[in-house]
Structure formats: C-alpha cells, structure tokens
Amino acid sequence: MEEVPQGCPGTGSAQAGRGASCQGCPNQRLCASGAGAAPDPAIEEIKEKMKTVKHKILVLSGKGGVGKSTFSAHLAHGLAEDENTQVALLDIDICGPSIPKIMGLEGEQVHQSGSGWSPVFVEDNLGVMSVGFLLSSPDDAVIWRGPKKNGMIKQFLRDVDWGEVDYLIVDTPPGTSDEHLSAVQYLSAAHIDGAVIITTPQEVSLQDVRKEINFCHKVKLPIIGVVENMSVFICPKCKKETQIFPPTTGGAEVMCQDLKIPLLGKVPLDPHIGKSCDKGQSFLMDAPDSPATFAYRSIIQRIQEFCGHHPPKEEHFLSS
C-alpha cells in the first residue's frame, strides 16, 4: 500500500474511500470499491458465468504423466460424440499445456468477442481453452509464479464465453498447489460435480494419488472415482499382456477398497493412444475395437451416470 493520509478511516471501515480525509489518497478508488474488505468478486462473477454450464468435472492426479490430459481429451471426445451434448474442455496446466496438441489444435489463437474470449472449437459442440493458445511460439516457456498463474485461471473461468454447456471438463497439472486451490476456490460458488482422479498401478503413483484424495477431502470436493491408466501393456503384435508398471501394493483396486472410493475402470496401455495424441486425433475413433476404447467408454458412461444422479443444485430464493 502507498502512503495513507492522516485521519485514514482504515481500509476495512465502512467509510473507506468515502471520508473527507480520503480525498487525494492514491488508494481512494480501491477503498471506495470495497476491495480491501470483500472476498474476491471474481467468485460471484464466475458463479454467474457458470450458470450456463450444467456439469463441471475436474480431472486430477497427484502424479505427473499418468494420463490426465489424455483422459480429459478423450472424455471430451466421448461426450461430444452425441452432437446434442455441448462439451467444453479447459486446460489449466499453465506450465505444460498438453491439450492443444492432443486435440489437434496446435497453433490456434484465441479471439476476443463482445462477450469475452471465444474458445477454440474442435467440433461444433466441443470447445477448448488453454494457455497454449496464448503463446506466440510452441517453445515459449510460461515461467510464472503462483499469483500470476492464479490470475490466468481466474480469467479462464470468468472471461471465456463458453455459452450453453452440458459438461465442462477441467484438466489440471500434477500436484496439490496454486492451480488446484484456485480452481476450487474460484468455482466454490458454482457447483462442481466432482473430481476424476487418474493414477497408474505402481506405488510411486499411488502414494501421490492418496495425497490428492486427501486434498479433495480437505477442500470438500466430491470424488466421482479413480481411473487406473496404463494397467497392462497389450503388445500390438502378439496381443499378450505385460505389466509394465507392476501393482506391487495392489494397484488402484486395493487403494480404492481401502479408501472406499469407486474405481471407475482400468485402461490398458495401447501404444496407439500415444500415436493418436501425437496426431491430435480421437483414439476412440482411430481404434474403435481396442480394449482401451472399451475401457474409456465404460468409464465415460459411469461419469455420465454420476452426473445424472447428482444434478446441479437449484438456487432457492427466499422472499424476505
């Protein structure tokens, strides 16, 4: 804060910015707006914006590289196969935005309209937003500390004109830090249906995922369930299975039993998944007969059932 005048009523006072001694103070406008005392107004603005979004799903994992972005993208693709379902995919991995590549949208730029930022559309009913679209070159590094990342996430939630959306899927970076806290905080007044947590079978992943589950409990974020990715490797030549990441402590199945959380499904590691992602195409379309596709579709159906059984809360207006 810059120097305050004598007789300053205090930034939290009802007279803040309005008293005689406030005249000429460089902070007068700030105080008069109530910014010193009130919670972030963006939370209410985002609540308003989210009124046109029926279901909001966060895709989380404590661990990196388990397939969050791959899963988020294919959840979006799967839901959007019904052309009557409007799907939005928001990538809040500010430092490592993978979604543009996986969705075949590298090089696309964001446009401004009167009603805010326009998402980039893959299909008529599938819109995407990512910091990747704001970079002038794919090599640009986003070397930002927490507060600046939080500001970007706020803008994504408040300023993107998603329109009428059935499902908003939020892809997150690994961890339990600024991005996750900000997403939950800014969406706190809007209803988040829940989190889908991605893991791989080995204990090194599970130990981070247990922390993520604890994070969800701490911030009261419902957990839709856990997806175990890369469960087994299926050889494209002989079709036999190998456990590349052995579940030495029982994998996600035992973890979910211990923590009483639904296991939504296990997705095998099909090398074609990575290739589809590199090409920016839907693996569900590229390899419709793959066991991985069947697994994805079953998991997507379970998520839809969860959202159907837990409709968004209606606001009840009490007349005074």
Partner: protein, 234 residues
C-alpha cells in the same frame, strides 16, 4: 520453522546437477535416483535434494520412507540411505506426519521451504548434489535456481519421453534453462521403446522411430542418451 542462514552449507559440494523436465511422469525421480546410485558405484559421495514438494518420490525409491530428520549446529542433517553414508537425501517426505499427508501450499510457502533446503541442510563434503524437481517451470524451479545460483550449479539434465506432448513441454523447459542462464548438460530420452517379453517385438510409442525431440537443439549441443523402457518400474 525459521533457521539462521548458514552460508557454508554448500561450500563442500563440488558439482550441482538439476534434473528437469517440463513434462510429468517421464522419469525425473527415477533418473535422479539411478544417477546417484551410478555415481556412488563410481566411488563418489552424492547428495539428493528432492524439491518436488507435492509429490516427493525419492524417499520411496531409496527405501528411506519414514526416516526422521535431525538437527545439528549447521542446520538439518540429511538422511543417509546407506550404511557407508555415501548417499544422503533431503525431501519434504521426511517432514510429513503421514505418507498420505498432502502438501497443499501456494507458491510463496513452497519457495520458502526450498530456500531452507538449500541453505539449512548440512550437506558436508559431496562430489555431486543431484536436485530432483517437479514437472513445470514455476515456483519450485525458480526458487531452486535462485537459491543455487551463488554456488554455480553445473547444469541441468533434461528428461523427456519420445511422445510429441513430452517433447513440447521439454522445449519449453529448455527455454526456461536459457532464460535463467542454466547450462544444459544434455537431454535424456527415457522409455524410448518397449520390448515385448512374450514375442520380443520392439514397440515404439511415436509415429517417428526416434522421437520428435531429435529436432530440438539443446543450448549446449551436447549429446543425448537413449534409455529403453524398463520391464518394471519402482
């Protein structure tokens, strides 16, 4: 916990290597651990500093979970993972009450702990300090580089996998290295391919057989090493 800054705690460390990747899950912690073990095998004294505060993997990889951190006059004593005391380790994992406890901190608190890890751990005489980092180019990375800068880090080892999504993030990490003046020792392509134990077929993860990163120029132009997928992981 605030401790007085000890200027001499890294004075006995000869080389510092940061293990970085823009991408998660490519094997930074695995490679940091394997690097430390290989250096020990070559007769070196090695320290590992694990600055992945949200997902500290190194204690488990070295079977050191649950160990306690003690204090000495110079600060915190790192945990020795072997009887010969040739590998020492510091990780937030040792400071948690339970292994499932989540570190839900915003940037400034993470920065403060990393500064403490650099200044307040009594590393003693080390040939190498390997610094394992989380994925990204954010608070932890900036804090580690800023705190280590006075000690002239040897450089950065950047880890990737062949997929284009990994390579994309690694290109950004190389930009980070350039902008922060960190010399890139080289790039390691991990999990290059997988040999099926049933039919011995070599499976590659990408469209191009050698990975898109081949087109990436490292700032130092040094060579890279390619590591095939392990049959099993920790």
């Amino acid at each position: 916990m605030e401790a007085a800054v000890e200027p001499g705690n890294l004075a006995g460390v000869r080389h510092i290597i940061l293990v970085l990747s823009g991408k998660g899950g490519v094997g930074k912690s695995t490679i940091s651990t394997e690097l430390a073990l290989a250096l020990r095998h070559a007769g070196k004294k090695v320290g590992i500093l694990d600055v992945d505060l949200c997902g500290p993997s190194i204690p488990r990889m070295l079977r050191a979970q649950g160990r306690a951190v003690h204090q000495c006059d110079s600060g915190w004593v790192p945990v020795f993972v072997d009887q010969e005391q040739s590998i020492s380790l510091m990780s937030v994992g040792f400071l948690l009450e339970s292994p499932d406890e989540a570190v839900v901190w915003r940037g400034p608190k993470k920065n403060a702990l990393i500064k403490q890890f650099v200044a307040d751990v009594a590393w003693g005489q080390l040939d190498y300090l390997v610094v394992d980092t989380p994925p990204g180019t954010s608070d932890e990375h900036m804090a580690a580089v800023e705190a280590l800068r006075p000690y002239s880090p040897l450089g950065a080892l950047v880890v990737t996998t062949p997929q284009a999504v990994s390579v994309g993030d690694v290109r950004r990490e190389l930009t980070f290295c350039r902008k922060t003046g960190l010399q890139v020792v080289g790039v390691v392509e991990n999990m290059s391919g997988f040999v099926c134990p049933h039919c011995a077929a070599l499976c590659l993860w990408t469209l191009s057989s050698r990975g898109a990163w081949r087109k990436v120029k490292t700032s130092s132009g040094t060579s890279l090493r390619v590591l095939p997928s392990p049959h099993s992981s920790p």
